[in-house]
């Protein structure tokens, strides 16, 4: 068989698909009743009504994103019987990298015992990290450059929330998720075509200030925040009004674009799994898109908005609850900090 023909055949038949998912939550948690003790003007009922969340998990001081990602990966190996030596590419996605250098993915390659022939990159992304990471994995697999990609999406938003910020503390939770994407030599596409979008004009509306090289945290910043541990990783600021109207504006056209690109109709989708921002926003989007309630999966009550880990956690729980099974067509869509948005259709 000539080289070109072989190449063409491989390209035709190899498609990426999601083989397994696991996730890890820190033990410590923050309940609505604890939040009410801290903020006496709130009631448990109010918090639940506003967010659809009862509990969020909070990492211990010093336990960072890559630690949660590591735990999630170890769980993936044991829960699904995966041999780490078969992994040939690692994508670590987080907004809380260990260092500016080296890449956290390099540290994780060693810690997880992945082969040294394994490629490793960081994707420092937030709410849309899972779908963007999945698109990179698909590109690597379908272009024949990797066979088995480990995508770790892990975030610790609690560490960048000021303790007096009730609104953000209500919404966000820490978590790590591990997803194995492998090549499937079959006709059916496991991970479909993506729709992407970016609008950096909204960067200021959701930002972790004082967290990098621009306007870096200085002595004055630490002094100002010394009562709350210095806010040493920076501080998340969100204009919820703008984020809400941004999501209302971009998500419906994105869903239509995903369906068009994958030559599917809304009726062909068995389950819709969006970035788990908060139940109020998701319910409004569901009604706007006229998606039936039983085809729209939400999982936030026990975990909150876990940023880049939210979609794999929801997908795991959807499979566990029997809402999605082998052969199901699931539409994944994420949106948030950036502004950034992306989505695709996966066949499980």
């Amino acid at each position: 068989m000539g080289y070109f023909f072989k190449f063409a055949v491989n390209s035709l038949y190899v498609s990426a698909y999601i083989q397994a998912i696991s996730y890890y939550l820190p033990e410590q948690s923050l309940s609505n009743s604890e939040l009410c003790d801290i903020f006496p003007s709130l009631t448990e009922n109010d918090i639940f009504k506003r967010t659809g969340i009862r509990k969020r998990h909070i990492t211990k001081d010093g336990v960072v994103g890559s630690d949660l990602g590591y735990e999630a990966a170890m769980k993936l190996f044991s829960e699904h019987g995966i041999d780490p030596s078969t992994i040939d590419f690692l994508i670590f996605c987080t907004e809380g990298l260990d260092y500016k250098g080296p890449a956290t993915a390099c540290i994780l390659q060693h810690r997880l015992g992945l082969p040294i022939s394994c490629g490793a990159i960081d994707v420092p992304f937030g709410c849309t990290g899972f779908t963007y990471g999945l698109s990179v994995a698909k590109g690597l697999i379908e272009s024949g450059q990797a066979v088995s990609v480990l995508l770790l999406t892990s975030d610790i938003p609690s560490t960048v929330i000021h303790p007096s910020d009730a609104e953000l503390r209500m919404i966000f939770g820490d978590a790590g998720a591990a997803t194995l994407i492998t090549s499937n030599e079959a006709f059916s596409k496991g991970v479909g075509k993506f729709s992407f979008g970016t609008d950096g004009s909204g960067a200021d509306n959701l930002m972790v200030e004082r967290s990098g090289t621009r306007n870096a945290a200085d002595a004055e910043w630490f002094e100002k925040n010394k009562d709350v541990g210095g806010m040493k990783y920076g501080q998340m600021k969100m204009n919820s009004l703008e984020i809400f109207s941004f999501a209302m504006r971009v998500v419906p056209p994105m869903i239509n674009d995903i369906l068009t690109k994958n030559e599917l109709k809304k009726e062909d989708i068995d389950l819709f799994v969006f970035h788990q921002a908060n139940t109020f926003l998701l319910s409004v989007l569901r009604r706007k898109l006229k998606i039936e309630e039983d085809k729209f999966f939400m999982y936030m009550e026990e975990v909150g908005n876990t940023v880049s880990a939210s979609i794999p956690i929801a997908l795991y729980e959807a499979i566990k609850a029997g809402k999605a099974k082998k052969g199901s067509t699931v539409l994944l869509a994420s949106f948030g900090i950036g502004y950034s948005w992306s989505g695709t259709v996966v066949r499980l």
Partner: protein, 76 residues
């Protein structure tokens, strides 16, 4: 679209409001227990009923029910 319907839609959607309590002149911030959550409910309501997406900047320019009505009406 007419303002009477607009007002009753808002009153129906926001459970803290007593039907008949809103007038075109009512200023949102003068309402007891008005919160950021109600603003989000308003955005969602206007989007669903009129297919108009209101932004935070739009809302900052709207003091009264009538102001908001005019913004929505100009974009329907």
């Amino acid at each position: 679209m007419d303002i009477t319907t607009f007002i009753s839609q808002i009153e129906n959607e926001i459970e803290e409001l007593t039907p008949g309590s809103l007038t075109p002149e009512t200023e949102f911030t003068s309402l007891k227990e008005w919160s950021s959550m109600h603003v989000l409910i308003l955005i969602a309501l206007i989007d669903t009923e009129y297919n108009v997406t209101i932004t935070g900047a739009d809302l900052q320019q709207c003091k009264s029910v009538n102001d908001l009505f005019n913004v929505v009406k100009s974009r329907v």
